[in-house]
Amino acid sequence: MTKRFSPSQIILLVVAAALAIVWLAPLAWAVATSLKPESETTKLPLQWFGSELTLDAYRLVLATGGIVKWAINSTVTAVVVTFMTVLFSAMAAYGFARTQFRGQRVLLAVILAGIMVPPQVLMAPLFAEMVSLGLVDTWWSIILPQVAAPLIVYILYKFFQDVPLELEQAAFVDGAGRWRVFFTIVLPLSRPVLAAVSIFTFITTWNNFLWPFLVSTDPNTMTLPVGLANVVQGTFGLRYAQIMASVVLAGLPLLVVFVLFQRQIIRGVAHTGLAGQ
């Protein structure tokens, strides 16, 4: 109904551009600071560019080792959590949607009730449990509680209920076993929803702070956010270029992935997030 460059479009464009500049400014400031020579990071009046662009801060940050170690810990734990969550939740959801067994309804109710239990509320008992299991300061202590995500089961359960039965029946008639049906027919059919919950799980795990912060006291087992918060500020003191370089390095991975897979990530977050965070 409006032309491409109607006055209203131009006004909207200007407003959006102004807001986008405000919203991107903090990130741009982090990048700008990280590229300045250390002596100019707090120079007044503020300047967006120093006398030269230098990667010194990044070199120093990478050389001290911590951030690489934490990135490995973050990647390993996020990948394992995502894989386990999606596989186990899909199996459970399928079990509830398509099979019958004693106590099924009670179990399902117990799992759905778990959606209301936020991990923050469990920090004390979960820590105590990890202490008695002897898992504090291991990857498993970071991973296992994050796999117990009833929300994902609920989302997949809803999805499987809506998948037509006929497809599976045909396979059964052909003599396929139940596990084969699940892995070769049901899972491939569910690819979009699995992608959505995988993305959501990965992002939440990658960004999680409180739990890994509690169970990794050893700088060798810390994830990226925990290491950044605990060690980087202490280590680099008030060397702003290096702190900002660490911030950029820790924040960058997901932003790059977002630019590459914008549509999938938006679907993943919107779809899964709407059902409850």
Binding site: L60, A63, T64, G65, G66, F127, M130, V131, G134, V136, D137, T138, L214, V215, T217, D218, P219, N220, N230, V231, Q233, G234, T235, F236, G237, L238, R239
Partner: protein, 443 residues
């Protein structure tokens, strides 16, 4: 670094330097080791010049003991540090060794957060009870068992600017500050210094700020000098003596009122003012020594003046503890004790940072005696006023923060000494009535 972390930019910078060194050492050797090297994971909170000196000592140990690799991790000072140590100790995969404030020991108890020190292993490495200052050695025990190896004491001391003091006629023939005894002599000295400074406050200390503990340190020093105590020895009763407490507080108020001390300086500002020659005296812990030397301030140090009787000075001690481990590897343990013994026996190197060695033989070493001004106040080691043995005491504890907050407005006059004391007593009563997480019966 002992000040509140928010104010000590310069220290953090120094800490960063130390850590860069530590970090570089850390990545020079792969974590997997694999070789015959034994890894000792060591945590501490020593920043600034403390951190640099510790890093140097670790390096020296490594050179002398190529079969041991000490993995040094520097964590943020204060409450976060003690939280992490407690959680690591509870978890049981904790570092092999950690630096610890002795006054914090009662707080953390013996309840599976720390493992006791093996006295035989210590003796095998050449450290015996007789080598340590008795009150400090005694304090390292819980229920008769040794839980910490004392390393140093860091008492409140009096820094003085030698140029300004000379101008005010406060130095003796030997070029050292003429010691004062009692309130009158101290006031007279400060007044002279005030005149020499053209009426500006001659004395600075950490007097206000977020989580300030300076007012507590000064008050506890004065109060302990008059023989006052806070809590009974068994930690069950409040023994605060109102008269003595008020005398000390009124004296602090007098300093503020007469403009003899600056009530408006936080930790960072107090050190900066003294560094830049804007104040003649600084009351602080001994840890600013190296920083002041680096910045070429003309200064020396003396014991905290005796004002109300004894020469006691508020202090805490650095020590080494073994956070609890489920499975302690005997060979790592042996290497850990070797490392402890090395550090303690090289206390004279550590004393460069300003701290008084707890290891008595070090106090006699020519290398230590030659340290100026670090050896000037060494005699305080037998008169240190340590915190009461309660779970909420020790460096950066609730006790310090509550009392610091209660007394800070007294110095500036925003609160009367009576009001300040009442606030502090309320806080103390609250802390006493809160359940002790590590009751004695458990040990």
């Amino acid at each position: 670094m002992e000040g509140p972390s928010s104010v000590s930019r310069r220290h953090l910078l120094g800490g960063g330097l130390a850590l860069l060194g530590a970090g570089a050492a850390g990545c020079a050797i792969p974590v997997g080791l694999g070789s015959a090297q034994r890894r000792v994971r060591y945590w501490h909170f020593l920043g600034a010049s403390d951190g640099i000196i510790m890093n140097r000592m670790v390096g020296a140990f490594a050179k002398a003991n190529p079969d041991v690799f000490v993995e040094e991790n520097v964590l943020a000072w204060g409450e976060p540090y003690y939280t992490k140590v407690a959680m690591a100790g509870a978890g049981g995969r904790s570092p092999d060794l950690a630096t610890f404030h002795l006054a914090r020991l009662s707080g953390i108890g013996a309840g599976r957060i720390l493992d006791p020190i093996n006295v035989d292993l210590l003796a095998k490495n050449g450290l015996r009870a007789a080598d340590f200052s008795p009150p400090i050695w005694e304090r390292a025990h819980i229920n008769g068992e040794l839980y910490a190896v004392p390393f140093d004491a860091h008492p409140m001391v009096q820094y003085y600017n030698t140029d300004l003091s000379r101008r005010a006629g406060l130095l003796g023939d030997d070029g050292k500050l003429k010691p004062t005894t009692g309130t009158d002599e101290l006031l007279a000295m400060l007044r002279k210094a005030k005149d020499a400074l053209g009426g500006k406050p001659p004395l600075v200390f950490d007097a206000l700020g977020l989580g300030t503990v300076g007012p507590w340190r000064v008050w506890e020093t004065l109060y302990a000098q008059s023989g006052g105590t806070l809590v009974s020895d068994d930690g069950t009763r409040i023994t605060l003596d109102d008269t003595k407490a008020l005398t000390a507080l009124r004296f602090m108020r007098q300093l503020g009122q007469e403009g003899l001390c600056n009530p408006k300086t936080d930790y960072g500002a107090s050190v900066a003012a003294f560094t830049n020659g804007l104040a003649a005296f600084l009351w602080n812990g001994d840890w600013e020594t190296t920083g002041l030397k680096e910045r070429k301030t003309p200064f020396s140090m003396a014991r905290f003046p005796s004002v109300f009787g004894s020469g006691a000075a508020q202090a805490d001690c650095h020590s080494f503890v073994l956070p609890h481990q489920r499975n302690r590897d005997p060979e790592t343990e042996a290497a850990t004790y070797r490392f402890i013994a090395y550090l303690v026996k090289h206390s004279a190197d550590w004393a460069v940072a300003g701290h008084v060695p707890a290891y008595l033989p070090a106090l006699e070493e020519p290398a230590y005696l030659a340290l100026q001004p670090q050896s000037e106040y060494r005699s305080v080691i037998t008169e240190v006023a340590l915190d009461p043995k309660v779970w909420f005491a020790g460096s950066a504890s609730r006790l310090w923060i509550e009392f610091g907050g209660a007394f800070s407005p007294v110095i500036s006059g925003a609160r009367t000494p009576e009001q300040g004391l009442e606030t502090a007593k309320q806080a103390l009563r609250r802390l006493m009535s809160a359940p002790d997480p590590f009751p004695a019966k458990e040990g």
